[in-house]
């Protein structure tokens, strides 16, 4: 049996406080060096990530959330979700990225959005707020075992789902 190829993309600007939640999570996943798991860290989701997405079986999109439940929410993107709203925005949304991969690069793997609640975004700084640091720890405690088992779809105890 072949290993499930999992891609974790953590995005956000680590120079804007809790906006760095996604990159920090991705860096922690990379440090765990799990077999079959690749990691991308970037400021935002970009169209070229669709090429990497298309080469994996499962994708986790990890970002900071400015609102919503703490410590984090976890949900699977509907396989037909599209999102094309944009006002000269240079970034793509999770659904937009998956649609690009499916329609133009030949594969749309199952994708999960991990949205970690952040609290402070309004200044430059490389620290996390205390609450965001707790939420990051909770998200990692959930995600790392799931990645190691290669099973992302199954709900875990204590996880807030949307």
């Amino acid at each position: 049996m072949t290993t499930t190829r999992i891609l974790v993309i953590g995005f956000g600007n680590p120079g804007r406080l809790d906006d760095g939640l996604g990159p920090r999570l991705a860096e922690a996943v990379a440090a765990a060096a799990l077999p079959g798991v690749s990691v991308i860290v970037d400021y935002s989701l970009q169209v070229e990530h669709a090429a990497a997405v298309a080469e994996h079986d499962l994708v986790v999109l990890a970002d900071a959330a400015v609102a919503g439940a703490a410590p984090f929410t976890w949900h699977e993107l509907p396989p037909d979700a599209v999102d094309a709203a944009a006002f000269s925005t240079h970034v793509v949304s999770p659904a937009g990225l998956m649609a690009l991969a499916g329609e133009h690069l030949g594969a749309r793997p199952r994708a999960f959005v991990l949205a970690m609640r952040g609290y402070e975004f309004d200044e430059f700084g490389e620290r996390l707020s205390p609450g965001a640091a707790d939420n990051l720890a909770a998200a990692l405690a959930f995600l790392l075992p799931a990645l190691a088992a290669g099973r992302l779809a199954e709900p875990a105890d204590g996880v807030v789902r949307t």
Binding site: S44, A65, T89, V91, S93, E123, F124
Partner: protein, 478 residues
Amino acid sequence: MTRLVIEPVTRVEGHGKVSILLDERNRVQQARLHIVEFRGFERFIQGRPFWEMPVVVQRLCGICPVSHHLAAAKAMDRIVGGERLTPTAEKMRRLMHYGQMFQSHSLHFFHLASPDLLFGFGADVGKRNVLGVAALHPELVRQGILMRKYGQEVIQATAGRKIHGTGAIPGGVNKNLSIAERDELLADVEQMVTWAQSALQLAKDYTLTNLELAQGFGDFDSNYLGLVRADGALDLYDGGIRAKDKAGVVLFDHLDNQRYRDVIAEEVRSWSYMKFPFLKALGPANGWYRVGPLARLNICSSIDTPLAEAARAEFVRISGGKPNNLTLAYHWARMIETVHAIEKVRLLLHDADLQGTDLVTSGERREEAVGIIEAPRGTLIHHYKVDRDDRVTMCNLIVSTTNNNEAMNRAVTSVARKYLSGVEITEGLLNHVEVAIRAYDPCLSCATHALGQMPLQIELFDAAGRLLHRMAKGMAAR
């Protein structure tokens, strides 16, 4: 089927707000583009050691970190007295810069502008987006993704990594290009040149076919500013400052870019966080200018790569040798630069200096320095003071989007005058305003605070300042 997708992730790049002010007879008096500038960056870097600057400034903007990386590195070169880079260092930096120009312009054209150009400005928003393009022209979307990816690979090979690159350091670079990296980039470069040429053809055909529309859409005279090489050629990485007026008369030329403050001042207006730069000699009313692809094509005397130079000659012919003043001509100019950038990448990949090992230089230490670069969106200025303990004590940045501030306001005003009827904002008006702003490719992330859930909002005020109507777009729905 209609399916509403609400992402839990609400952070976006930034947001723009347009307010339209009417006079007593309900005619458009003025339209204003509000971009909320992100404050506090100066405080964030003050007191940090100067050698951190090329890395730390990338935190300023997740959309164009490479521009800030290189502008800061150029300033820090002077701080260490190492501005005469070794050939390997200068060529590595140029390769990085052309790579980012290529990826940035490609993203804009294929994924932001092409829906406007292919479907017209009035088209239904559900179609006028990249997925609409995908349905009709799937090859364009795929090319856009792969061109963007190629540019990112050039950045990775030169900056060390795609984000938070460390390649440029004060006085040079910290790596050269290995043979393996070179060969990997060479494998796809001819394909990239071909795709860039077809994108250029598309942008040119669009402009020529729709010339009448373009001539009445956010067209206005202005001054133009940018860097040029010593012989007047387009130079995106370095050069002296040249400015031309609306008739094409050179206002000043080859000005040492360290002296930008001799010619540029910034005006503060009560309603905007973003400043309004202008040429001192002409004053704020007449001294505002445009930067970016259109300005660069208007000020340069030539382009030193053959495909782009041939395209420039055609571009210049349209406006009879005078500066082209059409907002919509930015798209054509941007694609000429895309071809130029990939021609430069191809030349550099064949240059053995990139495998050189002499990477860093230094000289007499300075306490103040300016780094200016032609970023994808236009002239980007970084200015620093550094004390004897190597700490940054002052930093002043003028980003490309700020340089185009007045021009974008004029474009919005002009479009609002033409497309506002009555005292109600229509979907059509919103679309046209959006197209006008988009032509300038503003980086809202550079200039703004990151949290905005309404990417574009328009408000209409009567002569007494009462809000008549408000309309917003940006909900993720289809």
